[in-house]
């Protein structure tokens, strides 16, 4: 490996002009990667899918625990989430046919392909379960479908983390080990929060627990992720829009969990306020992660510096 030559004067000048640090060389400060082309539907889908998935598990657990009140409310959330999610995806794609295009193949290497099948199976299960409940027909099939949805729920809540981690976006890919936990925690928190809001206080204790536990796990998860990413790659989560969302998310999630944890047992209003905050926190956290990906793609430093370090440490290891 050659020693790194001096940055040329004009290049440096251009870098400074574009606010890119001088420690990475680049082509006029232009990104190496393309920013994702996904629109705002996608983080909302991450949220709604996660919410629906976790809610399905919650509903099933509630049913098993005999908490019919809670199970019923949670199922409503599942239904809403399952209905909204594909709409969001199709809206991002532009036309419904484009969604079906994905059902022509199954590709284990593509989390989106896998996810599409998970979402479809989940949606179908939820649909059958709901139809059976409402129409009162095929109760066995209905229950079976409900169970299927419950089992698919955790997958639906976490595959989206794999989806974004399975890209070249540094702050997503390098966080591939932590991201599913954040998504899972955040999904659980939001499912708990949503169910807690809808369910009478007495029946909602597990939901509240789930919300508070999920919220704390979410905050912890994000913290762990940033630490593991290191100073440079944590930057995109802390700067700009992503940073703003992240700070709001932490505040909302933390405050929501506190309110719900401390006053939720007694005051419905505290549950509603706390729950709303937890939900908002979960959505904001998805937005933060989403935006951080764009921000890191936009600035070549986040691509170049870690790769350069990786290269150099490998070269050192090779002697």
């Amino acid at each position: 490996m050659n020693a790194r030559p001096e940055v040329s004067v004009s290049e440096e000048a251009r870098h400074d002009g574009r606010g890119t640090g001088a420690e990475a060389r680049s082509y006029y400060g232009r990104p190496v990667l393309k920013e994702p082309v996904w629109s705002r539907e996608i983080p909302w889908y991450f949220f709604s899918g996660g919410l629906a998935g976790a809610s399905a598990s919650l509903a099933a657990a509630a049913r098993l625990a005999g908490n019919v009140e809670l199970a019923r409310r949670a199922r409503l959330v599942v239904l809403a989430g399952a209905a909204v999610s594909p709409v969001l995806l199709i809206s991002d794609l532009g036309k419904p046919e484009r969604f079906y295009n994905m059902l022509r193949v199954i590709k284990p290497t593509s989390p989106m392909s896998v996810g599409t099948w998970i979402l479809s199976a989940f949606g179908t299960s939820v649909g059958i379960a709901a139809a059976s409940k409402v129409l009162g027909v095929f109760p066995r099939l209905g229950r079976l479908s409900g169970t299927a949805a419950a089992l698919l729920g955790p997958a639906l809540s976490t595959y989206t983390a794999v989806l974004i981690a399975d890209t070249s976006i540094p702050v997503w890919h390098e966080a591939r080990r932590e991201m599913p936990f954040i998504f899972a925690a955040s999904s659980a928190a939001s499912a708990g929060a949503a169910a807690a809001i809808l369910t009478p206080v007495e029946a909602a204790r597990p939901a509240r627990r789930l919300a508070v536990g999920g919220a704390l796990a979410e905050i912890a998860g994000v913290e762990v992720m940033k630490r593991r990413l290191g100073k440079l790659l944590a930057e995109p989560y802390e700067k700009g829009e992503a940073g703003r969302y992240d700070r709001l998310a932490t505040a909302a999630t933390g405050l929501g969990a506190a309110v719900m944890g401390m006053f939720g047992r007694r005051h419905r209003s505290a549950v509603v306020a706390g729950g709303a905050l937890v939900l908002a926190g979960a959505a904001l956290e998805r937005w933060s992660i989403f935006k951080a990906g764009f921000q890191s793609a936009r600035d070549p430093r986040y691509t170049v510096i870690p790769q350069r370090e990786r290269r150099e440490s490998r070269a050192r290891a090779d002697g």
């Binding site: 004067v9 004009s10 000048a13 251009r14 002009g17």
Partner: protein, 750 residues
């Protein structure tokens, strides 16, 4: 300026090309050259010892004594080491085993010393033995397709096809053919046969009407009365005596210096015909131009009747291109032209036909020239396109039996041969379009003589006798090209020898020999009267026998070598509508402290008519810009990507700024000078538009070939966009006033 004093002692020669008859705007006495007087093929006075103080070698030494590497650095700003690196590389790669070529284009020519720049290369290449040998030469990298062709079969006013001079009206009112030949032909060398070339040309022009009795219609040829080149003609439009203008494949409103003058001139015509692919600026000036914007022109007040005629592209017509190494390559029509698009050949032929029809019954003697023309080309297809191959065949010539000529050697001066351009004779040999040959390189020798056709006589390297030593042996095995074969008693090798095939290397001409026979067997330069390469040029140039350093017309520096600042023979137009910036030594020089140069981009072509109209090229260079060094950017507060206004006494234009180390400031004569570089491709039409660099330049020309000094002027540059409307004129006026270069004195040197 007395050109007679340049002649060799003991003999008078005329140039083989260029100015044979002096005379132009500067109004010198015509210079009639006689054929050389050679004794046994040698000039009468020669000094083999090179010691005579006035022999060429001693003159050369004396003249260039001061042109040292240090002087190069001081005057040009090119570091001495870099210069020496180039010089040494050149010398190391010249000799028996190696040759070097000079390839130049407009970086050398677009100066008031343009021709002398090329002359300098001639001297170097002759001294290094790089002429007439494979890998050697001086190559003009021609710009437009067939620029070479348009000099061979000229669109120029002062020569006829094959570099035969145009007859002049001065001196003798009634110069006849014999007198013309006597004054212009050399006795010795290939120009000794000029009469045969001229008569055959007249036969091509006038066919049966050209007879010995009427001097082959020599009187029908127009006579020069002065400099009729394009720029004086433009002045003529301004001044109202030039009333009509055909523009075919040119865009002077953008491509010619002093754009404003060009457009004002167009606006002063009675009629204008523009033939092009799209409505270029030259056709749209009357409603869309900077002058309309400033209010200097008003559409309603312009009297010019503009005819725009759509042209067929080279893919839509048959024809030939002649490139820099004199290679004629035929192109075939691939598709029919669309709509009303037609070729130039179609246009000229049918225009001529209609004019002749209208004049058919005229008895006016001045119409005879038109009526006597041999104007009978067969036409093809529904468009009645003249058959281009019949035109080529006429150029290639035929003999008394009507059979296509093999070469120019059989040309006769008795009216039995016809040939549209003597140097092209043979391009239709064996009744085959030789220029359309496309034999793959893998199927023939490395010289590829069967790819297309080169003039003269399909010779690929001209003066190739020089590729063998005086005894006729190759200089080296590596560089062998043609040589004397003693057994066969003839010249042989890879190419068509540029010497009569059986002329022995030791041939000495008898004293009464003429034309080629008067050239010795060891003299390769057969076009010259003495068979020699001319290091010193005794005739043919208007500005001097040896290249000499002059500063450009507008320069921030004084001439470090001579008291004479700029080329004294340069052609100026000192008039109010063509003002000049002050040059060094004049007051106000510091108002325009920077050097301005213009050049091309890969992505656009010249005035842009063919590229700014194409999206896939426009996107690659979408905007007019100027280039400055970081130092100049700092000095003037210019920002990369921002706007700048560039000002001269002619006008002010705006351009985006590129700050780049490529335009390094130069250290010249102990001072730092900054340069502003600009492409000149933009105008107001097309997909991408912008101000034209040529609006900044003034018209000042090389005296020999009238090429403009497009590569140097002085300017000022300031941040921001230019003023709009009348405010633009005020800005320029302000600069003029400050520079004391007011329109009244034309900015000419005091």
């Amino acid at each position: 300026y007395d050109v007679d004093t340049w002649q060799y002692a003991g003999m008078e020669v005329s140039g083989s090309a260029g100015k044979r008859e002096q005379g132009g705007v500067t109004g010198e006495q015509a210079h009639y050259a006689q054929g050389g007087q050679l004794e046994h093929g040698e000039p009468t006075e020669m000094d083999e010892s090179l010691e005579h103080p006035r022999c060429v070698f001693q003159l050369l030494k004396k003249h260039y004594r001061r042109y040292t590497p240090e002087a190069v650095e001081r005057i040009c700003g090119c570091p001495k080491e870099k210069f020496l690196e180039v010089a040494e590389t050149l010398c190391e790669n010249s000799g028996r085993e190696r040759t070097s070529a000079f390839c130049y284009a407009v970086s050398w020519t677009q100066h008031t010393v343009g021709v002398q720049n090329i002359r300098a290369a001639t001297i170097v290449q002759l001294l290094l033995g790089n002429i007439g040998r494979p890998g050697g030469g001086i190559m003009a990298l021609r710009g437009h397709a067939s620029i070479q062709g348009s000099t061979d079969i000229p669109t120029l006013y002062n020569i006829l096809p094959g570099y035969i001079p145009m007859p002049h009206a001065h001196a003798h009112a009634h110069q006849d053919l014999d007198e013309f030949i006597e004054k212009n032909a050399a006795k010795t060398g290939y120009w000794g046969n000029m009469r045969a070339y001229m008569v055959s040309l007249l036969k091509a022009y006038f066919g049966d009407a050209a007879t010995e009795e009427n001097d082959y219609c020599f009187d029908h040829l127009p006579r020069l009365t002065g400099d009729h080149s394009i720029y004086p003609a433009i002045m003529g439009m301004m001044d109202g005596w030039c009333k009509g203008f055909f523009v075919m494949g040119e865009n002077p409103a953008v491509g010619a210096a002093n754009g404003k003058l060009q457009r004002l001139a167009l606006a002063n015509l009675d009629w204008l015909v523009v033939r092009d692919f799209s409505e270029i600026e030259t056709a749209s000036f009357w409603y869309d131009s900077p002058e309309i914007e400033t209010g200097e022109l008003k559409t309603g007040e312009i009297g010019t009747e503009v005819f725009f005629m759509p042209a067929a592209a080279h893919t839509e017509k048959d024809g030939s291109f002649t490139n820099t190494q004199r290679l004629l390559q035929w192109h075939h029509k691939a598709v029919e032209p669309k709509g009303d698009c037609r070729s130039e050949l179609w246009f000229m032929y049918h225009l001529g036909r209609k004019v002749r029809e209208k004049l058919a019954n005229s008895t006016d003697p001045k119409d005879r020239a038109v009526l006597d023309l041999a104007w009978d080309y067969p036409t093809l297809g529904t468009h009645e396109e003249p058959d281009a191959e019949t035109v080529l065949r006429e150029i290639g010539g035929w003999d008394e039996n009507g059979d296509a000529l093999e070469s120019y050697l059989p040309l006769k001066d008795d009216g039995t041969t016809t040939c549209g351009c003597w140097i092209y004779a043979g391009c239709f040999a064996d009744e085959v379009n030789q220029t359309a040959r496309r034999k793959p390189g893998s199927e023939q020798s490395w010289v590829a003589p069967e790819w297309a056709w080169a003039w003269p006589m399909n010779r690929r390297i001209i003066y190739n006798r020089a590729s063998a030593d005086p005894e006729g042996r190759p200089w080296s095995e590596r560089k062998k090209y043609i040589w004397w074969d003693e057994e066969q008693e003839k010249w042989t090798g890879e190419d068509v020898p540029d010497i009569s095939p059986t002329k022995r290397p030791d041939y000495e001409p008898p004293d009464d020999a003429t034309a080629e026979d008067a050239i010795r067997g060891d003299s390769p330069f057969v076009m010259q009267a003495d068979g020699r390469g001319w290091i010193f040029v005794p005739a043919g140039l208007t500005d001097g026998p040896l290249p000499t350093h002059y500063e450009p017309h507008e320069s921030p520096f004084e001439n470090a070598l001579y008291g004479q600042q700029s080329n004294p023979a340069r052609q100026q137009f000192p008039r109010g509508d063509n003002p000049y910036n002050p040059s060094d030594g004049q007051s106000g020089t510091r108002v325009f402290p920077y050097i301005l140069s213009t050049y091309r981009l890969t992505e656009h072509h010249t005035a842009g008519g063919m590229t700014r109209t194409v999206a896939h090229l426009s996107e690659l260079q979408p905007e007019m810009f100027c280039e400055v060094s970081p130092e100049l950017a700092q000095e003037r507060g210019l920002e990369n990507g921002g706007w700048a206004t560039i000002v001269t006494t002619r006008s002010a234009i705006e351009a985006r700024v590129l700050v780049t180390d490529r335009l390094a400031p130069l250290r010249v004569q102990g001072r730092t000078v900054h340069q502003v570089g600009m492409p000149y491709h933009w105008g107001s039409k097309g997909l991408v538009t912008g101000d034209s660099a040529n609006d900044l330049l003034g018209l000042v020309l090389d005296p020999n070939v009238h090429i403009g000094e497009y590569k140097v002027a002085t300017c000022d540059i300031r941040p921001g966009r230019r003023p709009r409307g009348p405010a633009l004129a005020r800005l320029v006026d302000d600069y003029r006033a400050r520079a004391n270069a007011h329109a009244e004195n034309g900015g000419a040197r005091a």
